[in-house]
């Protein structure tokens, strides 16, 4: 799946951008932490953890949705 939009405050969004999470970037959800928070994702070949609250505001487009566009 690819990132469709990041609905977060500018400061946070900027850092996510710098870490390579741009609109259109492929990301993969790997797992939730044992206690449910944070979330581990794979992006540009590395693993990053993001709090669940923030992760929920990173909207993704599934491949099917993309082809419809």
């Amino acid at each position: 799946m690819v990132i469709a939009s990041i609905d977060l405050p500018p400061e946070t969004r900027e850092r996510l951008y710098e870490l390579g999470l741009l609109v259109g970037t492929q990301i993969e959800l790997i797992r939730f932490a044992p206690l449910g928070d944070p979330v581990e994702i794979k992006v540009r070949g590395y693993r990053l953890t993001i709090p669940r609250h923030e992760a929920e505001r990173i909207l993704v487009a599934l491949p099917e949705v993309q082809t419809q566009k």
Binding site: Y17, G20, A33, L35, P38, E40, G45, R47, T49, H53
Partner: protein
């Protein structure tokens, strides 16, 4: 920019900055380049660790200093550490000269994100070397990097490396020396032809490198305008003005207020440029980032060949178990259990050995030096005091061994991942886990590690509770108290009660820290919980060399403390405990004379008393009468030393605080120990060793004899002083109270506020007293004595 000449040695000094993303292996490269000769200090004004060392194999006429900058993800800093890295590269730190060469460490297995920062640094225009590290991990992932192509795209020499196996270190070393020599000979044009032939033709003037981002014209116009303004206003040209202009355009913090870093003219120009860009539909914050990643994607596609490989690496498989919902937590607690049990049990043998060596050394000194105050100071004050602390070196080595292993394998970040939810529950940042875990070694590095937390409030909470983590200095205190007060029995058939109490002490500290964090976050330090963005690097096999290096670094700090602060405190304490002298010796001789007269039936002349006493003591008494005499003489001696201490300055201080600590079941001697702890907690052990005159019975080693001395202590009513309850109460006191002058100094530096420093000391003191009082009261209610 070209080295400054030292007047004394005639050597020119060059600065080489080492920079890169966190987890890129920067520290390993630094260690390999400098060996064991690193100097650790601080940057002026801020307390970010400044690590530098001489390059191994530098030419004789040059001094090449490698500066290890804090790991950073971009030139737009989000933490104090990142800010320092940026400021060094922008020449904003007055104390640090402009680097002659910048080495960017790039993780080959995580190339895209690492190139984001690398390209930012390359644009700045310094002579630059790309150290492409972790080539082995990239190869495992099936990524083949074409070094020549990458080098051409980046317009910089690229040196492939596996720093953990020391591969490529010599090449990097030579490249640095060559560039430094070039910059010295030809200060105007800096090219890299000697390092990388393919690059030399492309390389023209370093100062005016082209930016990587192929920006639209409405950006280009603005960047050029600002760059021209920067060029016309600054006298010394170090940085590529276009790169600086781009940075100012995108980052408010880098631009600063008018007059802060730049004259008002420039600040105004940048603000106007932003407005014009916005009116063209541009987003000056994110467009440059997107533009840079676009170029990086092209460079990546061009220079990396992805071979088919196993989708799930070994690291991924391991993570399935280690971060598993159930197993993850079981493993976490298992590791903690093993760690603390082995610290208590494995260290025992070397500790006993070290103890006997120190004791023999003391005996040797006292037998070779003439008796007197100086010998007394050296044997009782210096050797016994410092020795009592040095004995704990094996335990401290073990603790640091575990911590370095957790760090070097990559488990530490998994632990943060697992613990984040719990930390979040009490309002702490998941990143606070590492400072708090480091505080188990020592609160000082722990408090300093809190700098990675971006928000000041969250950092402050972490700093306030960090001393509740039982540091290694408390380990000696716990060890002695546990050996003296807690019976050595087994629980559940296989766990030792002593080990469990030790673990309990650590757990209590953790629980208290979490409760206090919650209270602070709900009351005086309300604020949002910032987000935890943390990298989970692949697991690494720790290399013995790196781990030992880590352990060595930390242990040196401990030994230095023992050799300086603790030594000084021991001398002061020795003085406090031995003066004023008064006429105790006279009284003591009179009593000895009386005893001798009773047994021997003759009057002994005063000048002969000591000689006779010594004779009787060293001879082996055969009959009961002689045994009784020796016993009475020893009793007098003990009473005299207690009396002497009681009348000394230390005794006065101890008695002065006795009313405060009496409700906790502590007497004035423990009071002296508590007071001495303010120098450093482990001093408690050495102070008690002096107070209880340990070393009188020479056969046993320090800890055992000290624990035995504890067991012998009686209250005025004749009951044992060090009962299990007293031991536990005292441990509770030591868990909480902030009795460490060095920590207080560091907290002052880190928070930049006396108010918070004093607040911390007071709240921890109050907590210590209240909880100790409760422990004792509840214990007595339960029928413990």
């Amino acid at each position: 920019m070209d080295g400054r000449k030292s007047i004394i040695t005639g050597q020119k000094t060059f600065l080489v900055a080492l920079t890169g993303n966190p987890n890129s292996g920067k520290t390993t490269v630094f260690n390999a380049l400098t060996g064991l000769r690193a100097k650790v200090g601080n940057y002026p004004g801020v307390t970010v660790e400044r690590k530098e060392g001489k390059l191994k194999g530098s030419p004789h006429d040059k001094q090449i200093i490698i500066l290890d900058l804090p790991g950073t993800y971009s030139l737009s800093p989000k933490s104090l550490d990142e800010q320092v890295a940026r400021d060094v590269l922008l020449n904003r730190i007055p104390d640090v000269p402009s680097p002659s060469v910048v080495v960017v460490i790039v993780d080959a297995s995580n190339l895209q994100r690492n190139l984001y920062y690398a390209t930012q640094v390359i644009e700045l225009g310094y002579p630059v070397i790309i150290a492409l590290n972790m080539m082995d991990v990239a190869a495992q992932n099936g990524q083949i990097v074409n070094i020549e192509k990458l080098s051409r795209s980046l317009n910089a020499p690229v040196i492939p490396m596996v720093a953990s196996k020391k591969e490529g270190i010599t090449a990097l070393q030579q490249a640095i020396i060559e560039i430094v020599s070039k910059s010295e000979n030809k200060p105007q044009t800096k090219d890299y032809d000697a390092v990388n032939q393919s690059v030399s033709k492309l390389q023209t003037k370093t100062g005016n490198r082209e930016l990587f981002w192929k920006m639209p014209d409405f950006y280009r116009i603005e960047i050029q305008k600002i760059a021209q303004l920067l060029e016309s206003l600054s006298s010394e040209k170090c940085l590529n003005p276009e790169a600086e202009a781009l940075l100012l355009l995108t980052d408010d913090a880098a631009l600063g207020r008018p007059g802060e870093f730049y004259p008002e003219e420039i600040v105004r120009a940048v603000h106007e440029a932003r407005k014009r860009i916005e009116s063209c539909g541009g987003d000056w914050k994110t467009d440059p980032i997107e533009g840079r990643y676009e170029v990086i994607s092209k460079i990546y596609a061009d220079s990396v060949t992805q071979l088919p490989h196993i989708e799930e690496t070994f690291s991924d498989k391991l993570d399935r178990i280690i971060t598993h919902r159930v197993w993850g937590i079981v493993i976490f607690f298992g590791i903690m259990l093993v760690m603390f049990q082995s610290i208590f049990r494995l260290a025992k043998i070397p500790m006993e050995f070290l103890g006997s060596v120190i004791e023999q050394f003391g005996q040797y000194i006292s037998s070779t030096m003439p008796p007197g105050a100086l010998t007394n100071l050296i044997t009782d004050g210096v050797i016994a005091g410092v020795g009592a602390v040095v004995v704990f070196l094996p335990q401290i080595l073990l603790l640091f061994l575990f911590l370095s292993l957790l760090e070097d394998t990559g488990y530490m970040s998994r632990a943060a991942f697992i613990m984040d939810r719990i930390m979040g529950k009490v309002g702490l940042h998941g990143k606070a886990f590492i400072p708090l875990l480091s505080s188990f070694a020592c609160a000082i590095p722990g408090i300093m590690a809190a700098r990675t937390i971006e928000s000041y409030k969250d950092r402050l909470v972490t700093i306030l509770i960090a001393p509740l983590m039982s540091c290694s200095a408390r380990l000696p205190v716990y060890t002695v108290l546990i050996s003296a007060c807690i019976p050595d029995i087994k629980v559940l058939g296989f766990l030792r009660l002593q080990g469990l109490v030790l673990m309990g002490a650590y757990v209590t500290g953790i629980v208290l820290a979490l409760i206090m964090a919650l209270i602070f976050k709900k009351t005086i330090l309300k604020g949002e919980i910032p987000m935890l963005l943390m990298e989970l690097p692949p697991y690494k096999k720790p290399t013995i060399w790196t781990t030992l290096h880590h352990m060595w670094d930390r242990s040196v700090v401990f030994l230095k403390q023992a050799g300086t602060i603790i030594l000084l405190i021991n001398i002061v304490l020795w003085f406090l405990m031995n003066y004023p002298k008064g006429n105790i010796e006279k009284e003591f001789e009179t009593r000895q004379a009386q005893v001798l007269q009773k047994y021997l039936g003759t009057n002994i002349p005063p000048e002969k008393i000591q000689e006779i006493v010594l004779n009787i003591e060293t001879s082996h008494p055969a009959n009961d009468n002689a045994k009784a005499l020796v016993h009475e003489l020893t009793e007098i001696k003990k009473a005299a030393s207690v009396e002497s201490l009681s009348r000394s300055f230390a005794g006065m201080l101890g008695r002065a605080i006795e009313p405060i600590i009496a409700p906790l079941g502590f007497d004035w001697k423990i009071g002296i120990g508590i007071i001495s702890s303010f120098a450093a907690r482990e001093t408690f052990v050495s102070t008690m060793a002096i107070i209880y005159n340990v070393g009188a019975d020479k056969e046993e080693n320090n800890i055992v004899s000290l624990a035995n001395a504890f067991k012998d202590q009686k209250r005025s009513d004749g009951t044992r002083l060090f009962t299990p309850l007293t031991g536990i109460t005292l441990i509770v006191f030591y868990i909480c109270a902030l009795q460490c002058a060095s920590t207080i100094v560091v907290v002052r530096r880190e928070t930049n506020s006396w108010k918070w420093t004093i607040f911390q000391w007071l709240y921890l003191g109050l907590l210590a007293w209240t909880l100790s009082f409760l422990t004792r009261s509840i214990g007595m209610m339960l029928g413990l004595s």
